[in-house]
Symmetry: C2
Subunit: 490 residues, 2 copies
């Protein structure tokens, strides 16, 4: 009760912190498909590395110790690009949508983390499904490896070439095809940028069921292909629940029309779910049908502090950010509620927080009073990745664990690593999704050896997932058995 | 405004209409798997019937005209049951769980609608996954066809044998394995009856994310295998969103452990989604992990009438049921809301209804005042199937359509059938799910010829689904191309 004065009332702000922070939103998990269909663009056996067999190193950032999963070699069954191939693509796509420019290729070859880098000599920009189909059919016939690419905001090396794959970027396929204001069903092309869809829906009084830090760059097709989680999962559920249909092109060029717009459809296997989260390995998603939600007028945001569970030191590295609560605790929680009854919603959140205070669960907290304050709260949460990058080398793991376990792995790892590195955990408390970050001055083999496979083994032992929302990508393709049974993988 | 007096206040009732109506809840869509794995238990070509080739008729109710999709013949590659097989099963399951009793087999061979009937001579009752695995491994080696069975409440002939398949009923696998009061994740065996799970959760302060008329009999394994929709879909989403994991046994006896309990897990293909709604054709679901929801204390139920869109004549056939609103309109809607703030929730619903009245969208309505009134409202909605059965023969279709189309097909069909039959539509307005019912004095070929394939073609033309929530079963196995593209089916 004594701290009740700290629960300041919020005005009628709408959460907009994200919108003003576009400069560092070009990040996070999004598109990361690795390869189409029937052929692997690299050879690797699950959990069996061939350290002496690989001919290239494609990391351009950090040392060779930034990850242990990159020991793969190019599959010799794939052809190499020839000038006749380029000519063919120019014929079907037009000159300007066949990119050979080195500067543009440099960007397309490099992932957001600058940790993974390919050496593709060609990026194709199809304008529609038919062109994607023609490209893939041709590449299939010529045994040319391809990598689908969207906003290239993934964190696991899935959206860039590993070797010299042809990059198929769907960025020009960015049209909204239909929106039904009764059902809230949006149908659009895969290359639509998530934030653009959000802006479009805002004019209709709707919101996307997902939101994530990378929304200024990531594509809806990539979101679907990687089963992006993000900030609204606990409110609106996963994409397996909200994606109603999709269209995809298989590696042989065949188009799979699964673009339903129905809430219920029980007619045989629901194949679209295989594509959600398959990271492009089954085909390229070209269109998406998704259930959007009515926009709610009342938004409240609370920033609260607790004495235990989680340590958070990122404030040191973000300019102009201050701790919203006076005390410095070990664990902070950001809670956003949305509803339609402003007074009621605010009082409900306040009552919840007051009760938490009285029960000793919370030691301090504040409810945002206006848009600026809300922005500053979100700036902290969304700036964590940026802050960690500034600290030097950073090993990142995206884990799902039973909620009661998510701080134990942080503690265990601190004990294991001692003063070799700083171990930090943040993420999505309601989802049991921990972003485990280990920052050090530089990448080194000794440190990596202490982290991997320890983190994966720890996660597997607790029946967690070694990839909650980022996907496997190149980084964890070989680690799948830590989270899936051999029978399932087979 | 003039009708505001009709919006009576509800007390603090908890919706419990369903609980008192268990006698006629033994129905509706639930378990309906058709066959395990790699072999078809019957031969049929999609959309190509072989009317002269089938050797049996398995319908015991209605004439041969109750459906056109049953023209299938037994696959000669399957063996027939021998006494050595029965001996083997008795050895691994024990005498009492190998059922040869004719009376019990009669029930297990017949579907709830009494429209589909098999002639199996054996029902097996495994007690755990290992026994299911042993059964399937043996049947695989002996080429014995099997049909998985749960509560046998499906409406499309999917949960009973077509010919002489061995029935594998999972009813003895009915244990709750774990429940996490923080995350709300329930893990249980496939044979748990939905209502028993609801009762268990009630003591913990949680509710199942699905509810349906058959809950007194249907099994959670069957719900998952048929992707049951039901009454809470618009509130909590489909099973693709709420089922977090499952365990299944393939036709060869291999166990697939996909029994995760995590909200987020992006490590490769999420195979469990293939099993959700696959009607047993990929394997037998043996365990389920599902996200349940906190029970909300404030429940409101409104029964409202509108002048247009839908005709509903079922009140004639239900004893002791009266129209809750004084006027007799063509279209009724039942709205149930749940929340945590009783006064606020009620006022919100009242304001919504008042606004709808003022705008002329609604012509009359009443909010339930107590449990009895709520029960009587639900009795009407849940008694529709029962009432239609009493009217004589009834052709039932379970369609998904764009919401604006769901009454057009009713109208079109009325025009087409004239006075040959009564055409009625009800269902789930928010989901676009129409239960289209055509009732007549008796089944006959002429009538069937006018209904099928007209209804399927109409649905396909409007990009609807010929099975919203019931599944394909035997009834619609051959009609899949009306709702899925050839490439997808292939």
């Amino acid at each position: 009760m004594m701290m009740m004065h700290r629960w300041r009332r919020s005005g009628d702000f709408i959460r907009s912190a994200c919108k003003s922070l576009s400069s560092f939103r070009q990040k996070h998990n999004s598109m990361s498909p690795s390869v189409t269909g029937f052929m692997n663009r690299y050879e690797s056996k699950v959990n069996t590395f061939e350290p002496n067999a690989w001919s290239h190193q494609y990391r351009s950032f950090g040392s060779s110790s930034s990850s242990s999963a990159l020991k793969v070699k190019r599959n010799p069954l794939f052809s190499s690009l020839e000038s006749k191939d380029v000519s063919f693509f120019k014929e079907i796509l037009g000159e300007r949508n066949v990119v050979e420019d080195e500067e543009r290729l440099e960007i397309a070859n490099t992932d957001w983390m600058k940790k993974y880098k390919g050496c593709s000599k060609l990026m194709l920009l199809p304008k529609n499904t038919e062109e994607v189909s023609q490209i893939l059919k041709y590449c299939d016939s010529r045994s040319l490896a391809v990598v689908p690419q969207g906003g290239n905001t993934g964190l696991v090396g899935g959206s860039v070439p590993v070797f010299d794959e042809v990059i198929i970027n769907v960025g020009l396929m960015n049209k909204v095809l239909s929106f039904d204001e009764v059902s809230g069903v949006l149908v659009c092309e895969a290359g639509c940028i998530l934030e653009n869809l959000a802006t479009f829906l805002d004019t209709k009084g709707f919101v996307m069921p997902l939101d994530l830090g990378a929304k200024g760059s990531c594509h809806i097709g990539g979101n679907v292909s990687t089963n992006a989680g993000g900030l609204r999962l606990i409110r609106y559920g996963s994409l397996h629940g909200t994606v109603l249909g999709l269209e995809a092109v298989k590696a042989n060029g065949n188009v799979l029309d699964m673009l339903g717009t129905l809430r219920k459809d029980n007619t045989g296997y629901d194949l679209k779910h295989l594509f959600i989260g398959s990271e492009g390995s089954l085909g390229i998603v070209t269109k998406v049908s998704i259930l959007t939600q009515p926009k709610l007028s009342s938004v409240n945001l609370a920033f609260i502090a607790c004495k235990d569970f989680l340590s958070c030191q990122v404030l040191n590295h973000l300019d102009g950010v201050r701790n919203p609560v006076s005390s410095s605790e070990n664990f902070y929680i950001l809670i956003e509620t949305t509803g339609s009854g402003e007074t009621y919603d605010r009082e409900k959140l306040e009552a919840f927080l007051l009760k938490s205070l009285e029960q000793g669960l919370v030691s301090d907290g504040v409810i945002a009073q206006d848009i600026n304050q809300a922005s500053s709260f979100w700036r902290i949460r969304e700036g964590i990745t940026e802050a960690l990058q500034k600290a030097g080398a950073c090993y990142k793991y995206d884990l799902s664990l039973p909620v009661e376990e998510i701080y134990n792995i942080v503690n265990d790892l601190r004990g294991r690593l001692g003063n070799l590195a700083n171990v930090m955990g943040y993420g999505h408390l309601g989802d049991g999704n921990l972003h485990l970050n280990i920052s050090a001055a530089e990448y080194n083999d000794k440190l990596l050896g202490l982290i991997e496979p320890y983190v994966y083994e720890w996660t597997s032992k607790h029946r967690g997932s070694i990839s909650a929302e980022h996907g496997l990508g190149v980084m964890k393709a070989n680690e799948i058995l830590y989270s899936k049974s051999p029978e399932t993988v087979s």
